[in-house]
Symmetry: D2
Subunit: 415 residues, 4 copies
């Protein structure tokens, strides 16, 4: 009997009963995820948010394993071991391509992490060697699943939809690590609400409130954690640091720079091997180096990040174009380059999406309906946006009264 058990703060125990999956865990590409935080810069807001994409990947795997135990009892799906392995491997590997401070990094790199996940799966030798022990199509099928080609509909839905093992794990894990209760929901019951018919995943009608709770938990996590103004301000700072370094490089200014970061910032071709050397230790080290750079903007921004002197947000609601110009002028007057010290950011709180990807409820008589048809609560979950401007805190502490009036008080409780 093969059995590896890992202790986990969310699921208590994570069980590996298939040597293939365990071999995947031990590849360098997966181990690298230990050096990338799940929540990017959220640890600047919630000091507990240090958990990694590695822990989350194990948790997504374990959630999938439990989903499959349920579905096998419930409806005999999946019926073959290869499908089971595809589902488990897809859950474990779905985040392979994330870079340091993921979403910020993507915007600099100009490539979605999903693309990198696919490339690593297909091109990384060590990983490929393990995947190919199943068969030579296994890696390609995994990519197909993550691309949602429609060839493995049920697995695709379980790995990436509005009710997938990815979100089930990260919401619970993020809630535990930050210490907030908002992200909690009834995991075991939610898992039991699922059923598969003709390769499609359905939610049982009787579990309506369980799904409502889960989707509302997601809403609360967005407004309280994922889009917390201090976190968004930290993202802005990381992005501005990288933009400044990129700009300096483009201008031919010599700055110290970790080798693995160079092609990213110069816009050269990035190889898979080079990408896999990128992690948050590399980025933080670059910030260390840059904090003593002779370029004052770069050194000031990097030092702000390392010592957590973050940008403060003001709500953009009423700010007119002229006010926006006035803020840039004010920044300049205080010695701050507006391009790097006054940044606008629009954050989107996702809603429940019906078109093409809604959750389908199935009642005892085999009748289907979209979740939003049945639940008034869910219909309120439409996407909304937060417009905010981020500035050095010093600008708010000056005697610019009308400005400080629009500052969230919550922000100051964290800064």
């Amino acid at each position: 009997m093969f059995e590896k058990v890992l202790k986990d703060p969310v699921h208590d125990e994570i069980l590996f009963d298939d040597p293939l999956l365990w071999a995947l865990v031990n590849t360098p590409a997966v181990q690298r995820l230990r050096r990338i935080r799940q929540l990017g810069t959220s640890y600047m807001t919630y000091h507990g948010a240090e958990h990694t994409r590695f822990a989350h990947s194990l948790g997504a795997y374990e959630t999938m394993r439990r989903v499959l135990v349920h579905l096998e009892r419930e409806c005999g799906w999946p019926s073959d071991p290869r499908t089971r392995r595809l589902a488990l491997a897809a859950a474990l590997l779905h985040d392979l391509g994330h870079g340091p401070f993921s979403h910020t990094f993507e915007s600099i790199l100009g490539v979605h992490h999903e693309r990198w996940t696919h490339r690593i799966m297909l091109e990384d030798d060590a990983l490929r060697q393990v995947l190919d022990t199943v068969d030579s199509d296994f890696a390609k099928d995994l990519v197909s699943i993550l691309q949602k080609d429609g060839r493995f509909l049920a697995i695709e839905a379980l790995v990436s939809s509005q009710l997938d093992v990815d979100r089930m794990d990260y919401m619970l894990r993020d809630a535990l690590s930050t210490g907030v209760s908002y992200g909690r929901f009834e995991l075991a019951r939610l898992i039991r609400s699922l059923t598969v018919q003709d390769e499609r995943v359905y939610v049982k009608r009787q579990s309506l409130h369980t799904v409502e709770q889960y989707l509302l938990a997601r809403y609360f996590m967005y407004v309280q954690v994922y889009l917390h103004p201090v976190t968004v301000g930290s993202d802005v700072l990381v992005e501005n640091i990288l933009r400044r370094a990129k700009h300096l490089l483009a201008d031919g200014v010599a700055i110290e720079i970790p080798e693995a970061l160079l092609p990213v910032l110069t816009g050269s071709e990035v190889s898979v091997a080079s990408y896999l050397r990128l992690d948050e230790s590399v980025l933080l080290y670059a910030f260390h180096q840059w904090s003593t750079s002779s370029d004052q903007i770069l050194s000031d921004l990097a030092d702000r990040f390392l010592t957590r002197r973050l940008f403060a947000p003001i709500v953009r609601d009423g700010a007119s174009v002229s006010e926006w110009a006035a803020l840039r002028t004010m920044a300049k007057a205080m010695g701050f380059s507006p391009d790097y010290y006054v940044t606008e950011r629009v954050s989107t709180i996702p809603g429940y999406e019906v078109l093409g990807q809604g959750l389908t409820l199935l009642n005892d008589f085999g009748e289907c309906s979209d979740l939003s048809q049945v639940s008034k609560l869910i219909r309120t979950l439409v996407p909304s946006q937060e417009h905010r401007l981020f500035l050095p805190k010093e600008m708010l502490e000056s005697d610019n009264e009308p400005l400080s009036n629009r500052v969230h008080s919550i922000v100051f409780s964290r800064l």
Copy 2:
């Protein structure tokens, strides 16, 4: 009213009601602790153990705050605000001097982290500036407390003894992060068990079992978490990497090396400013660089750490001197330099210590007794040692049968 509240996974909320303490949190020296893990390499064993010394420092502060709320009601101690501030600041700052992968680093540096804590308190400008706002002796008094000079007996005991806010916080935090239940105890009741008389801290006799539970929790954390063979093996690996780099530098071999690390490895004088630039991102970055070094030992060891191909332990119990020599010979035959690939390590599980530092129980009639006089369970907690040898896993997988017989099976469940 000044109030800053931080959400915390262990204490739910951490409350700052004194601007001084909040200003201390925001110094670069304290913020640096965000980049140093509380449990060193334990995250290689327990993937949840990513929590930082920063989070723990906040938690030790909050525990002290609650202890003081209790003691003020219980016995009117402390009676003056300066003593309160000393106690809170000492709790918050007690870990300032930790370096990356702390205990391992100390052995290379040859200096205890406590020494660095004292130096940073006295010499770091930004920190000193805040401390001096109280009075010019405040920093010195803090150092005096941490040195246990005996001038502030009660605070000294609350900050560092067998029942202090440091341990109360880290046991709960380590238990939560790793996911084990071993470290849990009744915090609120333990806090209420404390009383201060004539500047000495006592434990109420009626709380005997609460203290027993706490001390046994500590024992279990040592055997299950702190001295887990995979963790000790990871420490050995870090230490051997640093030893190799140091050796190469001493031999005049040119290796890439982060600037902040250079004086440490060459044995030069290390300034406070330079020390404060050291954190785990710097060390991990060095490992990245070294993993492509032309020195094969250095590059192999660094790569092992980054890809988690750790050393495996064998129990040393019966191993005679001749067997020890045989293992070194075997290593050499397999191409492993014995100096870096066969390492002995003795780990000490601390016991309950009576001499000079026992816990004193106080009964309702004012009579004192040492905890160990009253509790049979506590008397079993005497220090013990684990002798282990660490080797590349490959050596165990060869057909050296008598060797693999002595390997803990638990180890393999993690490797």
Copy 3:
């Protein structure tokens, strides 16, 4: 220093620091609440729901104590010790008048439990003796608070409103005991969201999402726990048993009956002393006696309750008047008296109420708005009703196909 500490599964510790409150806990009227479950017949659905009104009363007291600790720091309210005592005593005593299987019992008795709470406060000697130690108006002022006379506005709101210590405690306690996660919310943060100005309670605008989470938790508790069809069916059974006994007594049929229950069922005047002898042990004992009664309806109904052969619900949605008549006929044909075996019940899921009792948000600039103006989610929380018919399970198991089609599948998972 006066200090009594009780261990509590919800709040960890409940602290009494005022001998008056402790003396109140030890009155027979409060101790009687140990014999009345908080959730009535919910334990038939959730086997963990055995927690008592006594435990909840202690929890409401502790929640109030924490609210007052916060408000004293926040805004210096309450400023005098008598107001503090009023608030704490009102929280502790607010449920005094509950009878066994409370809401069901009320409908038989024809008197609201609140009326009994007031009478007990004013008329019970042992309780009055303690209350009068404060002053001779203390008991009357407590009644005034519970009646919401408007003389103690802030306390009234904290004891009974849409955001009061009563609900804060019971939602957490009910969630813990049943094992569902739906009722959880951020208690500490919710408490800190409160402020008092000019004797009115406000919620800080920045805590919007905390209040949303709390109100949604309440919604989920209603749909998942409080109005669970199995629980409502158990209530119907208790009510029908009592109705049958009352009917027999009115008809002059001699049945065994506990003395304390006699005036209730005969409609005679009930004294406070007699009311205080009523608890769930008395009712259950009556059911025991009645289960061997010679009246077949009474004995069958009582035996059903004791052996948990409950009524099953069918959703009433589409049922026309003719169908309703058909069901009564069908019951009769199977030997079930329709008056006691076919019962309609309308349950109301409360919504957020604005008129006269909404929650007022207060922003940093002193501007007020009703919660429903700001939150789209809260606006969906309008009252709704569930119409259900309850029948013996045997009726559903017959081959009456169209009937069983309308049965909630969730019901069968519990029955």
Copy 4:
């Protein structure tokens, strides 16, 4: 697929996948356990301890189910469905024979609850009808298991030994309900530590510390919860009430008495049907009746219980025979009959037992050893006794100074 799921505060979900087990849950004999608390009078000390033997029986069943899931994977045991059913049914039904306030009741009745469990299994029609659907020996085999006849060694050990599903569930459940953390241990890991070879249950050597933690948790539960002096004092009160009623009946004094209780108190033959009508509602109702009895001792004792004016303990350590006589004299002088108001009670804290029933560790090489050989901590767990005298609190509040000196202060924090 048969599936019934119950929500549980300890195990989250309890799963029934075999209709036989579900049918057993729905027998009157099992449903009766809803009216008997798991911890007897502990709710007088810990107000949360209202959980029932019914909830615990479900929990013991669920723990057994998980143990079997593990053992089936681990070592293919049990190999046949009948053995599985025996194990699950034994776990579910092991507490059937408990009476109200169990251990106290046994001492009055003079019969162990185990005896009643066996009788109910064999003689109760409704239960027997379900059991006989398996085969006609099933009920007898269950009794054989509970009697530990040695015919089903492994099941016997899993149902009743020092490491059985009974204790695993009740320690966690008692800890949760009371709110103490002492009873917690690593359930999932403990379950995985078990293995079966040749019908014997072993504990894997590598799980040594997991078992240590579990056994120490048990020790702490005894000293902090099960033998809490307030609880023991409540037991004494219940016993003295019943003794008084029995005495009065023997003397021919007419007292009101619930019918089901009569044979028990008169020492007549008690039938199974009559026994099954006994539960805590019956006993509490009797106390209600007796609290207005004309016998002053009976009415006072019953009223004390209902209003929680409990007996207070004094430690017996040094009390000589003469002092004991003095206390009886003092009681008499204060109007208390010494036979009912001065009671000595010896409570035994069980230790780890080796003889014939120790836990056997099995290492990777197939070698066995008793747990106590390996663990110093476990060797300290030897049985010990607490001698206490219980008296009306009034006796301690008189000015008998040397007496009150020996009173546990902990007691007063609860009384």
